[in-house]
Symmetry: C2
Subunit: 229 residues, 2 copies
Amino acid sequence: MARDGTATRKAIMDAAQAVILETGFSAASIDSVIARAGVTKGAFFYHFKTKADLALALVQRDAKADAAHLETNLQRAEALSRDPLQQLLICIGLYEEDMAKLAAPYPGCLYASFIYESQLFDATTMGVVRQVFTHWTQRIGGKLEAVMRLYPPRLPVDVKTLAETSLVLAEGAFILSKVQRDAGAVAAQWRHYRNYLELLFAPHLPEPSRPAADAGVTHNTLDAALPAQ
Amino acid sequence: MARDGTATRKAIMDAAQAVILETGFSAASIDSVIARAGVTKGAFFYHFKTKADLALALVQRDAKADAAHLETNLQRAEALSRDPLQQLLICIGLYEEDMAKLAAPYPGCLYASFIYESQLFDATTMGVVRQVFTHWTQRIGGKLEAVMRLYPPRLPVDVKTLAETSLVLAEGAFILSKVQRDAGAVAAQWRHYRNYLELLFAPHLPEPSRPAADAGVTHNTLDAALPAQ
DNA sequence: GGTAACAAACAGACTGGTCGGTATAAATAA
DNA sequence: TTATTTATACCGACCAGTCTGTTTGTTACC
């Protein structure tokens, strides 16, 4: 090969993702993308056959990255505790940390953006989005089932929709953070999901402390007994 | 006045909303809107000065309807119980019912659609969206504060983000329902929000029942003591 | 010199928006 | 009662600009 085009390709994809999250896919014209990327139309169509091809490449890249991110956080959590409930809570806490790092260009989710323009994309592209969602749900759902085998929930819950709640909160929080221009909103919602799981499954809950004032305290009141399975 | 144009205007707005939720705003061309509405371009520009004017009219209509919907459900809930916690839980249950009714054309939220194309709209239009969000959050947040004065939460929570969770879940659930083509997903997430609030605030929780199998039971284990204020 | 990586001009379809004109019904005048 | 005016509601061809995608040519590197 002569010159190395991977940098150009990445520049185009990064620029496209940014423009798409600001204006949506159809308003993200190729001209605006190449202008932001600092390349020409020739370079664009060298790397991508069509605009739809770019869309597919973008979701595939994100899908790969998100799947890897989830595996990383799950493995980190599994290394930190042998209890499924704790693993899940830790994993969510890790996401909370990761999301707290996200700063100014208020985050957004390409999947959500595409879903609200879903008729523009072919079945393959939307299939990737769907698969990301089901994979996430099944991965979290599997953990949840392990939790439920050990800790009966305080209220009857459906595992599938409870796993989906994590996805739902993440997607909804992105929307909120965009409208409020506050990246911190995402982490806050992850925290609530962690709270919900604690309240549902943790074997011992603190009795409600009278003055609801001490809200600054750390909340790690749970030292879950590692069950002798 | 000569003929009555309100029906035409409504037809245009309904068609536009449907097309926008399928393809996004910028791909919802005026031609496609008038084709679905069964009117001509002349009729469109008689009722709306520009396409942006249509966008503003749409969010304003939704904002009004949603505010009214919330007031209705809050009032119904307040008529059914004098306890703030019960009122909130009932109100959420009412939304759960309402969302369960939503059928085939998998629902979506115009606000979310616009937020993911936010750079296309002027400050006025996005301001309406922002105001809908803050109004909702404040209305639920106010109820939550009343709850917190009576029932100390089992875990330290931030009222503002806890109120926002309802919005976040609703928005995220719309996304999930669209990608899954399952309108029932929305109601399921409302149920989880109700669970979370119960677990956080309800003074008496059932001890986790051993077999986690009986998931079909009704969950109204709470007969909240009406506090003698 | 051969090929990967780009540049730039161009074509054709589609976009939002305009504009002259028409149909209908109510208000007014004869 | 009938004729005329007037305002609302609507029609559809058309324009200027933007869109994606093509084509042809140039540059850099082995």
